[in-house]
Each structure stands twice: as structure tokens, then as C-alpha cells.
Symmetry: C2
Subunit: 357 residues, 2 copies
């Protein structure tokens, strides 16, 4: 019996494969990474030996020797937020069958935590880094600039990218949606905002710009909280807003969860939508178009952002730096029943009846 090393739990190594195939270890290594640089004949023998032995390359040894880890670090503010779940799906789909592995971190919307995780990830010598937003802490910014690997900031675009960017302008999104609501005839348009991270703040800024321009802005119209967004919260914030401004005629919800909560509350309170109250959300989750009445929202390309980010990262790893590293994927206003006052068939809800009309 040839004695196994004391530490490797008996797993076959590249040397075992080489011995069995009757070649040098380096040839096995090459056959794995650059198959066309190895003769067909040897390649066959090596493949056979690998299968017989059940050899699996040790990624740690590979990473140590080559000083890079085929790992992509991804930092998102929240894992449960549907928005980022879709981004992740785009990222994983973009990975395809490449050998890249994703190291995922949840910053809980905290810049400090983002910086901490960045340090942890950097210890892994990742091949690329994808981070959310453009509001990194100064410390995180420095880490990213010295990361020594491609960096993609996602979800948002802005001046002064660390490296590359894929996203859209939340300010513009807020502005366009607000404009639509004014055009639809609403005047007392409230803003409901949960979480209020930097991107939410910029949507609010877009709302405010349009309202001020129209001479309709009133601080009492704005209801915000740092609590995480939810359908329940939407209902509660809407009640608060109504208490504060009884003649409110529409609400711009920071995101779709809140909008859904508002819709349900309108049903309960027998407020007609879009007649008495107009409702709009942000992100355009799938359910918005199915809701009754369907809910106006701003479609954002979350899956595409993830997909594009990983594509750019992979290209950069391969040495193909894009001409322009800042990609604006935009958004699209989806006008639906919930803000269509002029529409012919508006759903009507009559008070006290469980049966819908």
C-alpha cells in the first residue's frame, strides 16, 4: 500500500491521476484547464484515469497556486427582498456552467456590514466583486479601489464609478411616475416610503422635484419610515397618511409591497380605486398586473441587471474591458387601472359588501 498523506482524507490527487495515466502531473493540470494544448491520446488516458479514481481538483490548492479563486463576491442589502432575489437569479444564470462560484453576502442595508463583508471576501482573493448601490462607506470605497479585481456596482448609476456600473436612475423613475400621476388628474399625491435606503431617497427626490415644480408639494404628503417594507406596513402607512391628509387622492408607494397593502386597505375601507384613490408602486412585481384593480408601477430590469453585471465581470476577468463601463438599463412606466381615472371600466367597491362587483 502506498501510504496516503496524513491530512488529505484519502482523496486522490493530481499526482495519483498522473501516475495512473502514465504522464506528468502538469499534463493532467493542463488537460483540465487547456484541453487543446494536450494531445488527444493523452487526454483520453487522463480522462479515463480521472473517472476511475473519482478525482476532483482541490480548488484551494488551485487558488493558492494561481493566486486567484474563481470566486465572485456578491453583496446585496437583503436576501428576502424579491428585487434582489431576481438579481441573484440573473447572476446565477449568467454563470452558466463556468467554474465560477458565488460568495453571497447580506449587508442588511448597512454600510458598516458591507465594509466588513468586503474585508472577509477580499481574504478569498475573488476574481470579481459585485456590490449594490453607489453609497459605499469611504473605507469600503478604498477596499474596492484596491481590490485588484473587476468591480461592478449594480442597481443604480451615478457619477464616479469604482469600476463598472449597471443600473438605472431612481430619481428619474420617481420623477416619471409622479408626472404620470399628475397627468392622470391627481393633485394630493402622497408618498409612502419604507426602509428609505439611498435609492428610496432618490425616488423621493424625484417625486419632490415634480411636485414642487407643479406647486403641489407639501411635507405632510410624505410618510416615511426606516422599517422594512411589507404589505402590512403599506396598509398602516396609508392609514396614517389618510389621518394626516384626509383629502389625499393618490399615493406613490416606494415599492410594490406597500402598494398592495394600500390596495387591500382601500378594499376594506370601501375606497374606490382609482376613483377615490390612485395607487402606484415601484419595481413592477409580477402580481401588479394581476391585482384587482391592476396596479400602476415602474418596471425595473432586475434580472437583466444581475445578468449584465455577471457578463461584464466575466468579460473583465477575461481581459475584455468594455468601452463604457456604465450601463443604464432604464425602467418603464407601466400604467394600469389603479391610476386610470379616465378609464371606462373602473372597478367599483361598495361598502359593507364582501362580494365584489
Amino acid at each position: 500500500m502506498k501510504p496516503r498523506s496524513r491530512r488529505s482524507g484519502g482523496r486522490p490527487t493530481i499526482a495519483d491521476v498522473a501516475r495512473r495515466a502514465g504522464v506528468g502531473a502538469i499534463t493532467v493540470s493542463r488537460a483540465l484547464r487547456e484541453p487543446n494544448r494536450v494531445s488527444v491520446e493523452l487526454r483520453r488516458q487522463i480522462t479515463a484515469a480521472i473517472d476511475e479514481l473519482g478525482y476532483v481538483p482541490d480548488r484551494n490548492a488551485r487558488a493558492l497556486a494561481s493566486a486567484r479563486a474563481d470566486i465572485i463576491g456578491v453583496l446585496v442589502p437583503s436576501l428576502t427582498n424579491n428585487v434582489f432575489a431576481e438579481v441573484m437569479r440573473g447572476i446565477y444564470d449568467g454563470l452558466g456552467s463556468s467554474s465560477l462560484q458565488v460568495l453571497l453576502g447580506d449587508t442588511h442595508y448597512s454600510g458598516m456590514e458591507e465594509e466588513r463583508l468586503l474585508r472577509v471576501f477580499l481574504g478569498q482573493r475573488p476574481s470579481a466583486l459585485i456590490v449594490s448601490g453607489i453609497d459605499q462607506t469611504p473605507g469600503a470605497r478604498v477596499l474596492l479601489e484596491n481590490a485588484g479585481c473587476p468591480v461592478v456596482q449594480i442597481m443604480e448609476i451615478g457619477p464616479d464609478p469604482v469600476d463598472m456600473m449597471v443600473g438605472f436612475s431612481h430619481f428619474d423613475g420617481g420623477r416619471e411616475l409622479t408626472r404620470h400621476m399628475l397627468e392622470a388628474g391627481y393633485r394630493k399625491v402622497g408618498f409612502l416610503g419604507a426602509r428609505m435606503d439611498p435609492r428610496s431617497q432618490r425616488r423621493l427626490a424625484g417625486y419632490r422635484a415634480v411636485m414642487e415644480e407643479a406647486g403641489l408639494f407639501d411635507a405632510r404628503l410624505v410618510t416615511t419610515t426606516s422599517l422594512p417594507s411589507s404589505v402590512t406596513l403599506g396598509r398602516e402607512m396609508f392609514r396614517d397618511a389618510l389621518g394626516c391628509v384626509p383629502d389625499l387622492d393618490a399615493v406613490f408607494c416606494n415599492n410594490d409591497d406597500l402598494a398592495l397593502g394600500v390596495l387591500f386597505e382601500c378594499h376594506r375601507a370601501a375606497l374606490s380605486v382609482p376613483g377615490a384613490i390612485g395607487i402606484a408602486g415601484f419595481n413592477d412585481l409580477e402580481m401588479m398586473k394581476v391585482a384587482w384593480p391592476s396596479i400602476t408601477s415602474v418596471r425595473t430590469y432586475r434580472y437583466e441587471i444581475g445578468r449584465r453585471a455577471i457578463d461584464m465581470a466575466r468579460a473583465a476577468i477575461a481581459g475584455d474591458r468594455p468601452d463604457d463601463g456604465v450601463v443604464d438599463l432604464g425602467f418603464m412606466l407601466q400604467v394600469r387601472e389603479s391610476t386610470s381615472r379616465t378609464g371606462r371600466d373602473k372597478p367599483v367597491i361598495s361598502k359593507g359588501r364582501v362580494r365584489a362587483v
Copy 2:
């Protein structure tokens, strides 16, 4: 100038720290991993040197030398499914500030893909593995049994665990919900099932068992598809089901997305809920209790499953194997307006717990 190695991009190594602190490299290593085995004095010097140099341990070298990678591999069938997003949140929360890192894989509900990813992950020599469900392919099963690390199967419990398990019985969940619907007075209870993964199949089996026992089962009541679940799909499946069985009086939806789609469709079609149609979902997403009318569902403890899984894995890594490796977290029937024909709040007993509407 002391010459840097050609590959480590100038990053300080443990040797640099050792030199600066005037100690041996191994002492630095120990100070990092087992501080109380190093004298206070040296520890101070080493800590100082680390800070001054900005030293970050190379995890790859550490993994190579110690043959284990402080990595936990997690395999879920879908990243966008809210259910698994919550599981992930539990897992990340359970990690706390430990040095463990999560390697996350999306199997797209494919056993083959699960097996492939398992192989990839195993190449990393993970400290533990968390996989979803109990229906691994034979190949995956072998890989798990020989993984040489703790394995936790989550979301479901069953006989013959690979190692540990945290979940609940989907069959029982389906059975209890169906019983409730019959008790509420519904007779033509349809089943709407999307995706139809093994866990959905078992919920269906629970439904079927109760319906057959009551002499009410009819194959035409069951509508299933392999398409992924969505609110839109719920609406469409409900239309199909109604076309097939016009006197349908209730639907048991495989999950909450479908239930919401059914609710919206009832609104549109002016079908009263729960009068004309009873609706029930599964998983009890947050929005179920806010919907109008609120929707009956089966509460599952997804966050807790993730949390518990990671706790068990960490304990096992530390050498504390639990007495019983199979943990049943149960579920809880949440009876709400959408199935309350009688209008009275009946207490419901589920897994030993009593809960009113």
C-alpha cells in the same frame, strides 16, 4: 527592499507579520486561532503588527494546509422563491460573526443539477452541507454519504436521513388544510398545484387522502402543472378548474402565490369569497393576513428551518452531534376569512398548538 513574491500582489503574509513582531510564523498562526495558547505579551505585539501591516489571512492557504475550508455549501431549488429566501435569511443570521462562509447553489428544482453542484462544492472541502428536500438522486445520495462532513436536509422530514434533518411533513400539512376545508362546509374542493416538486406532490397526497376518506375525491378536481408558480398562473389555473368543474366551491392552492391569483380572479369575476368560493394557500406569506378578504394558509417556519439547520451544522462541526438528528418544526393552520363561511372563529388545533383566527 525585501523582495515580494511574484504572485501575492504585495499583500503581507504571515511571515511578514512574524518578522515585524519578532516571533515565528507559527506563533502568529496560533495567536489568530487559539489566542489563549500564546502569551499575552506576544499576543499584543502580534496584534499590533497585524494592524500596522493590514494583514488578512489567506483563506486558500489556510484551507490547503488544514484540509478544511470554513465553508458551508447550501443547495436550494430556487432563489426567487420567497420560501427559500427566508430560509437563507435564517441561515445567514445563524452564521452570526463566525468565520464560516456560505456557498450558495440554485438547483432549479433539478436533481441532476443538484448532483453536479454537489460535486463542485465538494471540491471545496466544505465544513458542512445543507440540501433541500429528501429526494436526492442516487448519485447525490452517495456523494452526501461520503462527503466527510455534517449534512443537513431541510424543508422536509422523512425516514432514512443522510445525516440530520429539519423540516415538517408536507403530507400532514396538506391533510390538515383539506380537513379544515371540509369542516368549513366545502365539498367540491379543487387542488391547484404548480411546479409539483416532491413536496408539492406530498401535499397533494395529503389532500387526496382526506378527500377519498370523505368519498369526495374526483380526479377532475385536481389541476396541476410543472410551470413555476406565480400569481398570474393562479388566475389561469383557477379559470381552467372552473371550466372543468363549474360547481367548484373551494380551492386548495399549492402555495400562496396561486391563492392570491385566485382571489384576484374572484374579484374580477364577482365571485364572493368565502361565500361562493373558499380559498386556501400554503406557506402563509406575510400578505395573506392583509389580503381582502384575508386568506387561509398553512404557516410554515421557513426562517426557523434555516436557522436551526445552521445551528445543527455548527454544532456538528464542533463535534456536538445531537441526540436526535431529525427535527420536526411542524406547521400551523391559519384559518382566515377566505374559508370562514360560518363567520365564527373556530379554534384550530395543529401540532399541539391552539390558535384562533
